[in-house]
């Protein structure tokens, strides 16, 4: 058995496995993002609904999800819904968790649209749905794009939590390989490197977007 601290054969051995896991990580991030972006928007709009019957429960839901840990949410749903695949649970819970954070971001964006825009739309007899679609959201979303981008990066970095419900994402693969071969240093260093390589350019992109929007 090789006893040196860093073993390149391990690297060679584990890379395909990690990349396989990374594909799952990416897919979970993409699915989670789509859920978070759409549901977050819906939640934010619901908090502007004309009736308290909608506003109050939505607000309670958002507060509840935001104030409980992602890990606990993952476990709970995993235990409650054993018939669903871990991936589906993982990506959905991740998406819903981040939807509540994104809803706050959207809300700030929506609140940032001047009241006069709503009033001008009313003065033109525009229905509420059209006002949202054509006037409010284009202005609100534009202003919060960088913040949404940052949350997607956070979500990406939270995907390892899915390992605890046996989703075969990258860290799960690393963990398994490590315990099988008693080699942790190489696998986790590599996993960290892959995360860095993927998320650093993305953060640069978000920063450029911020500059362009004049934040």
């Amino acid at each position: 058995m090789n006893t040196s601290i860093w073993d390149w054969t391990v690297v060679e051995d584990v890379i395909p496995l990690l990349l396989k896991g990374f594909a799952v990580t990416l897919l979970a991030t993409v699915v989670g993002s789509v859920i978070a972006i759409l549901l977050g928007l819906l939640l934010a709009m619901a908090r502007r609904a004309p009736t308290r019957l909608v506003r109050v429960p939505v607000r309670a839901f958002v507060e509840f999800v935001r104030s409980t840990p992602l890990l606990v949410q993952l476990f709970t749903v995993y235990v409650l819904l054993p018939s669903l695949s871990p991936f589906v649970i993982g990506a959905s819970v991740l998406g819903i968790h981040y939807a509540t954070y994104m809803s706050e971001v959207y809300r700030a964006g929506i609140d940032g649209v001047p009241k006069g825009q709503w009033e001008a739309a009313t003065a033109l007899s525009m229905p509420r749905g059209r006002t949202w679609q054509a006037v409010i959201l284009p202005q609100a979303v534009r202003n919060v794009l960088p913040a949404l981008g940052n949350y997607i990066i956070s979500m990406f970095k939270d995907t390892p939590f899915l390992a605890v419900i046996t989703v075969h994402e990258m860290v799960f693969q690393a963990q398994e390989y490590g315990s099988d071969h008693f080699r942790y240093l190489e696998v986790f260093t590599l996993a960290a490197a892959i995360f860095l390589i993927a998320s650093y350019p993305t953060s640069l992109l978000v920063r450029r977007l911020e500059k362009r929007l004049g934040h």
Binding site: P50, P114, G116, Q117, E119, A120, T122, A123, L124, S125, M126, P127, R128, R130, A134, V135, P138, Q139, R142
Partner: protein, 254 residues
Amino acid sequence: MVLFEQVVKRFGSNIVLDHLDFSVAQGERVTLIGPSGSGKTTILRLLMTLEKVNGGVVYVEGQPLSHMKRGSQLVPANERYLRTVRKKIGMVFQQFNLFPNMKVLDNVTEAPIHVLGLSKEEAVDRAKQLLDLVGLGDRINQHPTSLSGGQQQRVAIARALAMQPDVLLLDEVTSALDPELVADVLNVLRDIAQSTTITMLIVTHEMQFARDVSNRILMFDKGRIVEEGQPDKIFSNPEHERTQTFLRAVLEER
């Protein structure tokens, strides 16, 4: 055309309009004057259904606006009803409130297409005509933010007119403008006043303009009409002491 019947409007404990009665005839142009806080904006906002009355009824063309008929009763209007009746009314705001995410042309075609159901071609034709009328026919593809305040306000006028409202509300439409831009906007409004029969309710501090375009002046104080009459009469020979002091103060400002 426009009828306020015993209208009460409160903000908290502040009674802004206290059983106000007045009417404006079809095609009439009426200017509301009066000191700050006398309720002029509130009246226009009630007509635009941006505020709700606390008492009384507002009518437009004999149809209730603040209320709707249920059997023989009048009940407060719901959103669905408001959507149908507020089409009769258009408003231009002090702060323009153009949609910055749309080009000038789209600002003017948006509601005709999506509210009135005009085809794109019809809406564009109508918008181009109106933008020509306000002197901005060559700016249709620009974004509002690239226009001066005066130009933005003229787009806002075109946008309101594109809905072909029966009543046009103008709330201090030149107050946010640099002095040198005021004249263009007022000239456009003079043109419109002369060439159309649209009913107008105007709030302005431009007394010469009010004199030129209005058929009647209403002088408000604390939510009540203290004096009304033809412009010549009100401006040259005001009877009420409040009107005299108000007009003196406005003239001194300039």
